[in-house]
Protein backbone atom coordinates (compact mmCIF):
# COMPACT_ATOMS: atom_id res chain seq x y z
CA UNK A 1 0.00 0.00 0.00
CA UNK A 2 1.56 3.27 -1.08
CA UNK A 3 1.42 5.58 1.90
CA UNK A 4 2.52 9.17 1.77
CA UNK A 5 5.33 9.44 4.36
CA UNK A 6 5.04 11.75 7.36
CA UNK A 7 7.76 14.40 7.44
CA UNK A 8 8.90 16.59 10.32
CA UNK A 9 11.79 19.05 10.14
CA UNK A 10 13.62 21.38 12.52
CA UNK A 11 16.40 23.92 12.28
CA UNK A 12 19.40 23.41 14.55
CA UNK A 13 20.65 26.80 15.75
CA UNK A 14 24.38 27.37 16.11
CA UNK A 15 25.71 27.37 19.64
CA UNK A 16 22.33 26.96 21.30
CA UNK A 17 23.25 24.22 23.73
CA UNK A 18 20.13 24.71 25.83
CA UNK A 19 18.01 23.66 22.87
CA UNK A 20 20.01 20.50 22.31
CA UNK A 21 17.86 17.41 22.12
CA UNK A 22 14.77 19.39 21.19
CA UNK A 23 14.29 17.74 17.83
CA UNK A 24 15.00 14.38 19.41
CA UNK A 25 12.28 14.96 22.02
CA UNK A 26 9.77 16.10 19.42
CA UNK A 27 10.48 13.16 17.14
CA UNK A 28 9.94 10.86 20.09
CA UNK A 29 6.54 12.41 20.83
CA UNK A 30 5.55 12.04 17.18
CA UNK A 31 6.60 8.39 17.00
CA UNK A 32 4.70 7.57 20.19
CA UNK A 33 1.55 9.13 18.77
CA UNK A 34 1.99 7.03 15.65
CA UNK A 35 2.20 3.88 17.76
CA UNK A 36 5.78 3.01 16.70
CA UNK A 37 7.33 0.30 18.97
CA UNK A 38 9.22 1.81 21.90
CA UNK A 39 12.56 0.18 20.98
CA UNK A 40 12.44 1.92 17.59
CA UNK A 41 11.48 5.18 19.30
CA UNK A 42 14.48 4.92 21.61
CA UNK A 43 16.90 4.24 18.74
CA UNK A 44 15.47 7.10 16.68
CA UNK A 45 15.82 9.45 19.67
CA UNK A 46 19.49 8.51 20.09
CA UNK A 47 20.23 8.93 16.38
CA UNK A 48 18.49 12.33 16.24
CA UNK A 49 20.21 13.51 19.41
CA UNK A 50 23.70 12.60 18.19
CA UNK A 51 23.02 14.10 14.76
CA UNK A 52 21.81 17.34 16.36
CA UNK A 53 24.95 17.42 18.51
CA UNK A 54 27.25 16.91 15.52
CA UNK A 55 25.58 19.64 13.48
CA UNK A 56 25.83 22.03 16.39
CA UNK A 57 29.37 21.23 17.51
CA UNK A 58 31.07 20.93 14.14
CA UNK A 59 28.95 22.77 11.60
CA UNK A 60 27.39 25.73 13.37
CA UNK A 61 23.89 24.37 13.00
CA UNK A 62 21.88 22.85 10.17
CA UNK A 63 18.59 21.09 9.66
CA UNK A 64 17.27 17.75 10.83
CA UNK A 65 14.40 15.92 9.21
CA UNK A 66 12.57 12.75 10.06
CA UNK A 67 10.56 10.89 7.44
CA UNK A 68 8.23 8.14 8.62
CA UNK A 69 7.23 5.58 5.98
CA UNK A 70 4.99 2.52 6.51
CA UNK A 71 7.91 0.14 7.12
CA UNK A 72 10.81 2.33 8.24
CA UNK A 73 11.89 5.77 9.24
CA UNK A 74 14.76 7.90 8.05
CA UNK A 75 16.58 10.69 9.81
CA UNK A 76 18.44 13.13 7.63
CA UNK A 77 20.72 15.78 9.08
CA UNK A 78 22.33 18.28 6.77
CA UNK A 79 24.65 21.20 7.35
CA UNK A 80 26.83 23.67 5.48
CA UNK A 81 29.77 23.08 7.81
CA UNK A 82 33.41 22.26 7.12
CA UNK A 83 32.71 18.68 5.99
CA UNK A 84 34.52 15.56 7.21
CA UNK A 85 37.96 15.08 5.61
CA UNK A 86 38.32 11.41 6.66
CA UNK A 87 35.02 9.62 7.29
CA UNK A 88 36.66 6.33 8.32
CA UNK A 89 38.65 8.14 11.01
CA UNK A 90 35.56 10.03 12.22
CA UNK A 91 33.76 6.70 12.59
CA UNK A 92 36.32 5.45 15.12
CA UNK A 93 35.11 5.46 18.69
CA UNK A 94 36.79 8.16 20.72
CA UNK A 95 37.99 10.17 17.76
CA UNK A 96 36.80 13.76 17.85
CA UNK A 97 37.85 17.10 16.47
CA UNK A 98 35.70 19.01 18.96
CA UNK A 99 37.28 22.06 20.58
CA UNK A 100 38.39 22.13 24.20
CA UNK A 101 35.53 24.51 24.94
CA UNK A 102 33.03 21.92 23.70
CA UNK A 103 34.76 19.17 25.68
CA UNK A 104 34.51 21.24 28.81
CA UNK A 105 30.76 21.19 28.34
CA UNK A 106 30.95 17.40 28.47
CA UNK A 107 30.48 16.81 24.77
CA UNK A 108 32.82 15.80 21.98
CA UNK A 109 33.75 12.35 23.31
CA UNK A 110 34.01 10.93 19.81
CA UNK A 111 31.01 8.63 20.25
CA UNK A 112 28.48 10.45 18.03
CA UNK A 113 28.87 8.74 14.68
CA UNK A 114 29.55 5.26 16.15
CA UNK A 115 26.42 5.68 18.27
CA UNK A 116 24.34 6.61 15.25
CA UNK A 117 25.64 3.61 13.34
CA UNK A 118 24.96 1.28 16.27
CA UNK A 119 21.37 2.47 16.61
CA UNK A 120 20.39 2.43 12.95
CA UNK A 121 19.90 -0.22 10.26
CA UNK A 122 21.85 1.71 7.69
CA UNK A 123 23.81 4.92 7.70
CA UNK A 124 25.19 7.00 4.90
CA UNK A 125 27.41 10.07 4.99
CA UNK A 126 27.86 12.37 2.05
CA UNK A 127 30.41 15.01 2.79
CA UNK A 128 32.59 17.47 0.99
CA UNK A 129 35.25 19.55 2.67
CA UNK A 130 34.23 23.19 2.69
CA UNK A 131 30.70 22.45 1.48
CA UNK A 132 28.94 20.46 4.17
CA UNK A 133 27.68 17.09 5.29
CA UNK A 134 24.48 15.14 4.77
CA UNK A 135 23.95 12.22 7.12
CA UNK A 136 21.16 9.74 6.53
CA UNK A 137 20.22 7.00 8.98
CA UNK A 138 17.50 4.43 8.45
CA UNK A 139 15.69 2.41 11.07
CA UNK A 140 13.42 -0.44 9.98
CA UNK A 141 10.26 -1.30 11.87
CA UNK A 142 10.19 -4.81 13.31
CA UNK A 143 8.37 -7.45 11.31
CA UNK A 144 9.08 -5.71 8.03
Amino acid sequence: MGQEPYVEEYTIQAGDFTAIGEASTKFRATLKMLGIPSEVVRRAAVVAYEAEMNAMIHAGGGTIRMTVAPDHLEILASDQGPGIPDVALAMQEGYSTASDEIRELGFGAGMGLPNIERNSDGMNIETEVGVGTVLTARINFPGQ
Binding site: Q3, E4, S24, K32, M33
Partner: protein, 438 residues
Protein backbone atom coordinates in the same frame (compact mmCIF):
# COMPACT_ATOMS: atom_id res chain seq x y z
CA UNK B 1 -4.26 8.03 37.97
CA UNK B 2 -4.10 5.09 40.32
CA UNK B 3 -6.29 6.43 43.07
CA UNK B 4 -3.85 8.70 44.87
CA UNK B 5 -5.67 11.91 44.03
CA UNK B 6 -9.18 13.04 44.85
CA UNK B 7 -11.07 15.93 43.27
CA UNK B 8 -13.68 17.69 45.35
CA UNK B 9 -15.95 18.82 42.55
CA UNK B 10 -17.97 21.18 44.73
CA UNK B 11 -14.83 23.23 45.37
CA UNK B 12 -13.52 23.35 41.79
CA UNK B 13 -14.01 26.72 40.08
CA UNK B 14 -12.76 25.45 36.75
CA UNK B 15 -9.69 27.70 36.68
CA UNK B 16 -6.65 26.71 34.66
CA UNK B 17 -4.00 26.54 37.40
CA UNK B 18 -3.80 22.78 37.74
CA UNK B 19 -3.82 22.02 34.03
CA UNK B 20 -0.70 24.13 33.58
CA UNK B 21 1.05 22.62 36.59
CA UNK B 22 0.72 18.99 35.49
CA UNK B 23 4.07 17.63 34.26
CA UNK B 24 2.44 14.96 32.11
CA UNK B 25 -0.37 17.17 30.75
CA UNK B 26 -2.96 14.85 32.24
CA UNK B 27 -5.56 17.43 33.26
CA UNK B 28 -8.38 19.03 31.28
CA UNK B 29 -11.13 21.36 32.40
CA UNK B 30 -14.39 20.38 30.72
CA UNK B 31 -17.69 22.09 31.48
CA UNK B 32 -16.15 23.96 34.39
CA UNK B 33 -14.78 20.87 36.17
CA UNK B 34 -11.38 19.27 36.16
CA UNK B 35 -10.98 15.90 34.50
CA UNK B 36 -7.88 13.83 35.08
CA UNK B 37 -6.87 11.49 32.26
CA UNK B 38 -6.09 8.30 34.20
CA UNK B 39 -3.69 6.94 31.57
CA UNK B 40 -1.44 9.98 31.89
CA UNK B 41 -1.63 10.86 35.61
CA UNK B 42 1.33 9.77 37.74
CA UNK B 43 -0.14 10.86 41.11
CA UNK B 44 2.77 13.23 41.73
CA UNK B 45 0.60 15.84 43.44
CA UNK B 46 1.76 18.93 41.54
CA UNK B 47 -1.91 19.79 40.92
CA UNK B 48 -2.55 19.70 44.69
CA UNK B 49 0.16 22.34 45.14
CA UNK B 50 -1.27 24.54 42.39
CA UNK B 51 -4.93 24.48 43.47
CA UNK B 52 -5.96 27.63 45.32
CA UNK B 53 -9.38 26.29 46.19
CA UNK B 54 -8.19 23.08 47.84
CA UNK B 55 -10.30 21.17 45.36
CA UNK B 56 -7.60 18.54 44.84
CA UNK B 57 -6.35 16.45 47.75
CA UNK B 58 -4.61 13.23 48.68
CA UNK B 59 -7.14 10.43 48.38
CA UNK B 60 -7.01 9.27 51.99
CA UNK B 61 -9.31 7.34 54.25
CA UNK B 62 -11.34 9.00 56.99
CA UNK B 63 -8.88 9.47 59.85
CA UNK B 64 -11.51 10.28 62.47
CA UNK B 65 -13.21 7.00 61.71
CA UNK B 66 -9.99 4.98 61.68
CA UNK B 67 -8.56 6.39 64.88
CA UNK B 68 -11.68 5.57 66.84
CA UNK B 69 -10.87 1.89 66.31
CA UNK B 70 -9.28 -0.07 69.08
CA UNK B 71 -5.56 -0.84 68.63
CA UNK B 72 -5.02 0.71 65.23
CA UNK B 73 -1.73 -0.34 63.63
CA UNK B 74 0.19 2.32 61.73
CA UNK B 75 2.93 1.82 59.17
CA UNK B 76 4.35 5.31 58.98
CA UNK B 77 6.52 6.66 56.19
CA UNK B 78 9.98 7.79 57.40
CA UNK B 79 8.97 11.44 56.82
CA UNK B 80 6.48 11.01 59.68
CA UNK B 81 9.32 10.84 62.20
CA UNK B 82 10.86 14.22 61.37
CA UNK B 83 7.71 16.38 61.36
CA UNK B 84 7.77 17.56 64.96
CA UNK B 85 10.85 18.64 66.86
CA UNK B 86 9.68 17.09 70.11
CA UNK B 87 9.05 13.67 68.54
CA UNK B 88 11.92 13.54 66.09
CA UNK B 89 13.07 10.05 66.96
CA UNK B 90 11.11 6.89 66.21
CA UNK B 91 11.06 5.93 69.92
CA UNK B 92 9.71 9.34 70.98
CA UNK B 93 7.04 9.16 68.32
CA UNK B 94 6.15 5.64 69.38
CA UNK B 95 5.53 6.87 72.89
CA UNK B 96 3.43 9.81 71.70
CA UNK B 97 1.34 7.46 69.56
CA UNK B 98 0.85 5.02 72.43
CA UNK B 99 -0.58 7.84 74.44
CA UNK B 100 -3.41 7.93 71.91
CA UNK B 101 -3.84 4.18 71.83
CA UNK B 102 -2.06 3.94 68.48
CA UNK B 103 0.73 1.55 67.58
CA UNK B 104 3.34 1.96 64.89
CA UNK B 105 5.63 -0.77 63.61
CA UNK B 106 8.75 1.38 63.21
CA UNK B 107 11.11 -1.28 64.58
CA UNK B 108 10.09 -3.60 61.72
CA UNK B 109 10.16 -0.75 59.22
CA UNK B 110 13.78 -0.13 60.16
CA UNK B 111 14.61 -3.77 59.34
CA UNK B 112 12.62 -3.60 56.09
CA UNK B 113 14.55 -0.56 54.85
CA UNK B 114 17.86 -2.23 55.78
CA UNK B 115 16.70 -5.28 53.87
CA UNK B 116 15.69 -3.26 50.78
CA UNK B 117 19.06 -1.50 50.74
CA UNK B 118 20.92 -4.79 51.24
CA UNK B 119 18.96 -6.52 48.44
CA UNK B 120 19.43 -3.53 46.12
CA UNK B 121 23.18 -3.60 46.72
CA UNK B 122 23.21 -7.33 45.89
CA UNK B 123 21.31 -6.82 42.60
CA UNK B 124 23.48 -3.86 41.59
CA UNK B 125 26.57 -5.99 42.29
CA UNK B 126 25.34 -8.53 39.70
CA UNK B 127 24.67 -5.47 37.51
CA UNK B 128 25.89 -6.07 34.00
CA UNK B 129 23.63 -4.96 31.16
CA UNK B 130 20.98 -3.38 33.37
CA UNK B 131 23.22 -0.79 35.01
CA UNK B 132 22.35 1.80 36.05
CA UNK B 133 19.42 0.48 38.05
CA UNK B 134 16.64 2.89 39.03
CA UNK B 135 15.16 3.10 42.52
CA UNK B 136 11.70 1.59 42.99
CA UNK B 137 10.88 3.75 46.00
CA UNK B 138 8.96 6.72 44.54
CA UNK B 139 5.69 5.43 43.01
CA UNK B 140 5.25 8.63 40.96
CA UNK B 141 8.62 8.05 39.30
CA UNK B 142 7.68 4.44 38.58
CA UNK B 143 4.48 5.55 36.86
CA UNK B 144 6.36 8.25 34.96
CA UNK B 145 8.74 5.59 33.65
CA UNK B 146 5.87 3.22 32.78
CA UNK B 147 4.12 5.94 30.78
CA UNK B 148 6.88 8.17 29.38
CA UNK B 149 10.09 6.12 29.45
CA UNK B 150 8.98 2.59 28.54
CA UNK B 151 12.50 1.61 27.49
CA UNK B 152 13.70 2.09 31.07
CA UNK B 153 11.18 -0.23 32.74
CA UNK B 154 13.70 -3.08 32.75
CA UNK B 155 16.12 -0.96 34.79
CA UNK B 156 13.78 -0.53 37.76
CA UNK B 157 15.13 -2.51 40.71
CA UNK B 158 12.93 -5.55 41.34
CA UNK B 159 12.84 -4.67 45.04
CA UNK B 160 9.54 -4.10 46.77
CA UNK B 161 8.82 -0.89 48.64
CA UNK B 162 10.08 -1.40 52.22
CA UNK B 163 6.80 0.17 53.34
CA UNK B 164 5.15 -3.05 52.15
CA UNK B 165 7.89 -5.41 53.28
CA UNK B 166 7.74 -3.94 56.80
CA UNK B 167 4.20 -5.23 57.18
CA UNK B 168 5.23 -8.69 55.99
CA UNK B 169 8.06 -8.74 58.53
CA UNK B 170 5.80 -7.49 61.32
CA UNK B 171 3.17 -10.15 60.58
CA UNK B 172 5.78 -12.86 60.41
CA UNK B 173 7.53 -11.81 63.60
CA UNK B 174 4.48 -11.12 65.77
CA UNK B 175 1.69 -13.10 64.16
CA UNK B 176 -0.26 -9.86 63.98
CA UNK B 177 -3.35 -10.20 61.79
CA UNK B 178 -4.79 -6.70 62.16
CA UNK B 179 -5.27 -4.48 59.13
CA UNK B 180 -2.49 -1.91 58.75
CA UNK B 181 -2.86 1.77 57.89
CA UNK B 182 -0.17 3.52 55.88
CA UNK B 183 0.69 7.05 56.98
CA UNK B 184 1.72 8.55 53.64
CA UNK B 185 3.48 11.83 52.77
CA UNK B 186 2.03 12.14 49.27
CA UNK B 187 -0.65 10.93 46.83
CA UNK B 188 1.87 8.70 45.05
CA UNK B 189 2.44 6.58 48.15
CA UNK B 190 -1.32 6.36 48.65
CA UNK B 191 -1.34 4.40 45.39
CA UNK B 192 0.74 1.70 47.11
CA UNK B 193 -2.45 0.87 48.98
CA UNK B 194 -5.03 1.72 46.33
CA UNK B 195 -3.39 0.32 43.25
CA UNK B 196 -0.05 -1.41 43.85
CA UNK B 197 2.42 -1.89 41.00
CA UNK B 198 4.40 -5.13 40.91
CA UNK B 199 2.19 -7.03 43.33
CA UNK B 200 -1.39 -8.24 43.27
CA UNK B 201 -2.67 -6.84 46.52
CA UNK B 202 -1.08 -4.51 49.01
CA UNK B 203 -0.25 -5.70 52.50
CA UNK B 204 -1.62 -2.36 53.66
CA UNK B 205 -5.33 -1.75 54.01
CA UNK B 206 -5.93 1.95 54.65
CA UNK B 207 -4.06 5.17 54.00
CA UNK B 208 -4.01 8.55 55.75
CA UNK B 209 -1.76 11.53 55.19
CA UNK B 210 1.14 12.38 57.49
CA UNK B 211 -0.47 15.82 57.92
CA UNK B 212 -3.71 14.43 59.39
CA UNK B 213 -2.04 12.26 62.01
CA UNK B 214 0.53 14.88 63.05
CA UNK B 215 -2.17 17.55 63.48
CA UNK B 216 -4.05 15.20 65.72
CA UNK B 217 -0.97 14.44 67.83
CA UNK B 218 -0.08 18.11 68.18
CA UNK B 219 -3.55 18.95 69.43
CA UNK B 220 -2.72 17.07 72.65
CA UNK B 221 0.94 18.00 73.09
CA UNK B 222 1.95 14.82 74.88
CA UNK B 223 5.24 15.01 76.81
CA UNK B 224 7.51 12.09 75.99
CA UNK B 225 10.74 10.84 77.51
CA UNK B 226 11.73 8.09 75.13
CA UNK B 227 12.89 5.90 78.00
CA UNK B 228 10.11 3.33 77.73
CA UNK B 229 11.11 1.84 74.39
CA UNK B 230 14.43 0.72 73.03
CA UNK B 231 16.25 2.77 70.43
CA UNK B 232 15.50 2.14 66.78
CA UNK B 233 18.04 2.64 64.00
CA UNK B 234 17.58 5.84 62.03
CA UNK B 235 19.28 4.90 58.76
CA UNK B 236 15.89 4.40 57.14
CA UNK B 237 14.69 7.91 58.02
CA UNK B 238 17.25 9.27 55.55
CA UNK B 239 15.24 7.73 52.68
CA UNK B 240 13.01 10.77 52.97
CA UNK B 241 15.67 13.19 51.71
CA UNK B 242 17.46 13.19 48.38
CA UNK B 243 20.36 10.77 48.34
CA UNK B 244 19.46 8.90 51.54
CA UNK B 245 18.52 5.69 49.80
CA UNK B 246 21.67 5.78 47.65
CA UNK B 247 23.79 6.23 50.78
CA UNK B 248 22.06 3.33 52.50
CA UNK B 249 22.62 1.04 49.50
CA UNK B 250 26.19 2.22 49.24
CA UNK B 251 26.80 1.22 52.87
CA UNK B 252 26.08 -2.39 51.85
CA UNK B 253 28.26 -2.31 48.72
CA UNK B 254 31.76 -3.70 49.06
CA UNK B 255 33.05 -1.53 46.26
CA UNK B 256 31.98 2.08 45.97
CA UNK B 257 28.60 2.79 44.43
CA UNK B 258 28.47 5.36 41.64
CA UNK B 259 25.07 6.93 42.00
CA UNK B 260 23.10 9.99 40.96
CA UNK B 261 20.32 11.19 43.24
CA UNK B 262 17.87 13.88 42.16
CA UNK B 263 14.57 15.22 43.37
CA UNK B 264 11.82 17.28 41.80
CA UNK B 265 10.04 16.31 38.60
CA UNK B 266 12.02 18.52 36.26
CA UNK B 267 15.30 17.00 37.42
CA UNK B 268 13.80 13.53 37.32
CA UNK B 269 12.56 13.92 33.75
CA UNK B 270 15.84 15.42 32.54
CA UNK B 271 17.85 12.66 34.16
CA UNK B 272 15.64 9.87 32.77
CA UNK B 273 15.87 11.51 29.36
CA UNK B 274 19.67 11.49 29.53
CA UNK B 275 19.61 7.88 30.65
CA UNK B 276 17.40 6.92 27.72
CA UNK B 277 19.79 8.66 25.32
CA UNK B 278 22.56 6.47 26.71
CA UNK B 279 24.51 9.33 28.25
CA UNK B 280 24.96 7.89 31.75
CA UNK B 281 27.63 5.27 31.23
CA UNK B 282 29.50 4.19 34.36
CA UNK B 283 26.62 4.96 36.72
CA UNK B 284 25.38 2.08 38.93
CA UNK B 285 22.30 3.50 40.56
CA UNK B 286 19.82 6.29 39.99
CA UNK B 287 17.61 7.62 42.74
CA UNK B 288 14.75 9.87 41.62
CA UNK B 289 12.09 11.47 43.80
CA UNK B 290 9.17 13.41 42.34
CA UNK B 291 9.08 15.98 45.14
CA UNK B 292 11.63 18.73 45.78
CA UNK B 293 14.16 17.72 48.47
CA UNK B 294 12.65 14.23 48.53
CA UNK B 295 9.62 12.78 50.33
CA UNK B 296 9.73 15.54 52.96
CA UNK B 297 8.50 17.79 50.12
CA UNK B 298 5.38 15.65 49.62
CA UNK B 299 1.98 17.33 49.50
CA UNK B 300 0.68 15.24 52.40
CA UNK B 301 3.34 16.32 54.91
CA UNK B 302 2.88 18.74 57.78
CA UNK B 303 6.26 20.31 58.46
CA UNK B 304 8.22 22.73 56.28
CA UNK B 305 10.44 20.64 54.02
CA UNK B 306 13.37 22.87 54.89
CA UNK B 307 13.06 22.23 58.61
CA UNK B 308 12.58 18.51 58.01
CA UNK B 309 15.75 18.52 55.96
CA UNK B 310 17.62 20.37 58.67
CA UNK B 311 16.54 17.80 61.24
CA UNK B 312 17.54 14.90 59.03
CA UNK B 313 20.91 16.36 58.22
CA UNK B 314 21.62 16.81 61.89
CA UNK B 315 20.81 13.32 63.11
CA UNK B 316 23.70 11.04 63.77
CA UNK B 317 23.49 8.05 61.52
CA UNK B 318 25.18 4.78 62.27
CA UNK B 319 25.46 3.31 58.78
CA UNK B 320 26.87 -0.01 59.90
CA UNK B 321 24.19 -2.33 61.28
CA UNK B 322 25.07 -4.15 64.49
CA UNK B 323 26.01 -7.81 64.30
CA UNK B 324 22.56 -8.71 65.53
CA UNK B 325 20.82 -6.51 62.96
CA UNK B 326 23.00 -7.92 60.18
CA UNK B 327 22.00 -11.48 61.10
CA UNK B 328 18.37 -10.49 60.87
CA UNK B 329 18.79 -8.75 57.51
CA UNK B 330 20.51 -11.83 56.07
CA UNK B 331 17.78 -14.14 57.33
CA UNK B 332 15.06 -12.07 55.69
CA UNK B 333 17.15 -11.71 52.56
CA UNK B 334 17.39 -15.49 52.20
CA UNK B 335 13.60 -15.73 52.49
CA UNK B 336 13.25 -13.47 49.42
CA UNK B 337 10.36 -11.46 50.88
CA UNK B 338 11.93 -8.27 49.50
CA UNK B 339 11.47 -9.28 45.88
CA UNK B 340 8.85 -7.59 43.73
CA UNK B 341 6.14 -10.16 42.99
CA UNK B 342 5.56 -9.27 39.34
CA UNK B 343 7.70 -7.43 36.80
CA UNK B 344 6.68 -3.81 36.27
CA UNK B 345 4.77 -3.35 33.02
CA UNK B 346 4.89 -0.58 30.43
CA UNK B 347 1.79 1.65 30.31
CA UNK B 348 1.97 3.49 27.05
CA UNK B 349 -0.73 5.86 25.92
CA UNK B 350 -2.85 4.80 22.96
CA UNK B 351 -1.50 6.04 19.62
CA UNK B 352 -3.76 8.20 17.42
CA UNK B 353 -4.74 5.03 15.62
CA UNK B 354 -3.68 1.37 15.68
CA UNK B 355 -3.17 1.60 11.92
CA UNK B 356 0.02 3.48 11.02
CA UNK B 357 -1.42 5.00 7.83
CA UNK B 358 -4.46 6.29 9.66
CA UNK B 359 -2.32 7.57 12.53
CA UNK B 360 -0.17 9.50 10.06
CA UNK B 361 -3.27 11.02 8.47
CA UNK B 362 -4.52 12.07 11.90
CA UNK B 363 -1.15 13.50 12.81
CA UNK B 364 -1.19 15.60 9.63
CA UNK B 365 -4.68 16.77 10.54
CA UNK B 366 -3.40 17.60 14.02
CA UNK B 367 -0.49 19.62 12.59
CA UNK B 368 -2.93 21.56 10.38
CA UNK B 369 -5.23 22.32 13.33
CA UNK B 370 -2.27 23.32 15.48
CA UNK B 371 -0.98 25.68 12.77
CA UNK B 372 -4.26 27.59 12.97
CA UNK B 373 -4.19 27.97 16.77
CA UNK B 374 -2.65 31.03 18.48
CA UNK B 375 0.28 29.11 20.12
CA UNK B 376 0.14 31.04 23.35
CA UNK B 377 -0.99 28.11 25.52
CA UNK B 378 -3.41 30.26 27.50
CA UNK B 379 -5.39 27.38 28.95
CA UNK B 380 -8.80 28.92 28.29
CA UNK B 381 -9.85 25.93 26.22
CA UNK B 382 -9.31 23.75 29.28
CA UNK B 383 -6.18 22.15 27.84
CA UNK B 384 -2.61 22.74 28.98
CA UNK B 385 -1.38 23.80 25.53
CA UNK B 386 -2.48 24.49 21.97
CA UNK B 387 -0.83 21.22 20.97
CA UNK B 388 -2.87 19.32 23.54
CA UNK B 389 -6.05 20.91 22.16
CA UNK B 390 -5.08 19.89 18.62
CA UNK B 391 -4.47 16.35 19.86
CA UNK B 392 -7.78 16.23 21.73
CA UNK B 393 -9.60 17.41 18.60
CA UNK B 394 -8.18 14.65 16.38
CA UNK B 395 -8.90 12.13 19.13
CA UNK B 396 -12.52 13.27 18.96
CA UNK B 397 -12.48 14.94 22.37
CA UNK B 398 -12.89 18.59 21.47
CA UNK B 399 -13.56 21.06 18.71
CA UNK B 400 -11.71 24.01 17.22
CA UNK B 401 -14.15 26.54 18.69
CA UNK B 402 -13.08 25.41 22.18
CA UNK B 403 -10.30 27.93 21.49
CA UNK B 404 -11.64 31.40 22.36
CA UNK B 405 -9.47 32.96 19.67
CA UNK B 406 -10.91 30.67 17.02
CA UNK B 407 -14.36 31.31 18.42
CA UNK B 408 -13.75 35.05 18.15
CA UNK B 409 -12.61 34.62 14.53
CA UNK B 410 -15.82 32.74 13.79
CA UNK B 411 -17.90 35.47 15.41
CA UNK B 412 -16.03 38.17 13.49
CA UNK B 413 -16.57 36.42 10.18
CA UNK B 414 -20.19 35.74 11.03
CA UNK B 415 -20.81 39.33 12.02
CA UNK B 416 -19.13 40.45 8.78
CA UNK B 417 -21.54 38.25 6.89
CA UNK B 418 -24.48 39.69 8.83
CA UNK B 419 -23.23 43.17 8.03
CA UNK B 420 -22.96 42.32 4.34
CA UNK B 421 -26.44 40.82 4.32
CA UNK B 422 -27.95 43.78 6.15
CA UNK B 423 -26.65 46.21 3.50
CA UNK B 424 -28.46 44.30 0.76
CA UNK B 425 -31.51 46.28 -0.43
CA UNK B 426 -34.88 45.06 -1.60
CA UNK B 427 -35.26 45.63 -5.35
CA UNK B 428 -38.22 47.87 -4.71
CA UNK B 429 -35.89 50.43 -3.16
CA UNK B 430 -33.75 52.88 -5.08
CA UNK B 431 -30.01 52.34 -4.36
CA UNK B 432 -29.99 55.73 -2.65
CA UNK B 433 -32.24 54.13 -0.06
CA UNK B 434 -35.05 56.54 -0.72
CA UNK B 435 -38.29 55.71 -2.37
CA UNK B 436 -38.64 57.07 -5.90
CA UNK B 437 -40.57 60.33 -6.02
CA UNK B 438 -43.70 60.38 -8.05
Amino acid sequence: MSGGIRVREAQCRGCANCIKSCPTEAIRVIDGLIRIIPDLCIDCGECIRSCRDKAITVNEDEWDLLRSREGLILMADPTFYVQVGAYSRPRLMKEALEHHGLRDISEYASTAFDLAAYASAAIIREGGENLPYISTYCPAVIRLIQINFPELVGRILPVESPLETAVTIWRDATGGGEKVTLVAPCPAKATLVRNPVGRGKSSLEYVVSVKKVIRDLLAYNVKVTGTKTKAISRRWLLWSITGGEAKHISSFSDKGLTSIAVSGLRNTMDLLNELELGRLGGVDFIECRACDLGCIGGTGTYESRFLSQLRLENIETEWLPSHEEMEEIRTWYEKGIWRLENPIQVKERLPLSQDLGEAMAKLREMDAIYAGLPHIDCGSCGRPSCRALAEDIVRGQGEVTDCIFKLRERITSLSGEIQALSSKLPHTLHPSGKRRQR
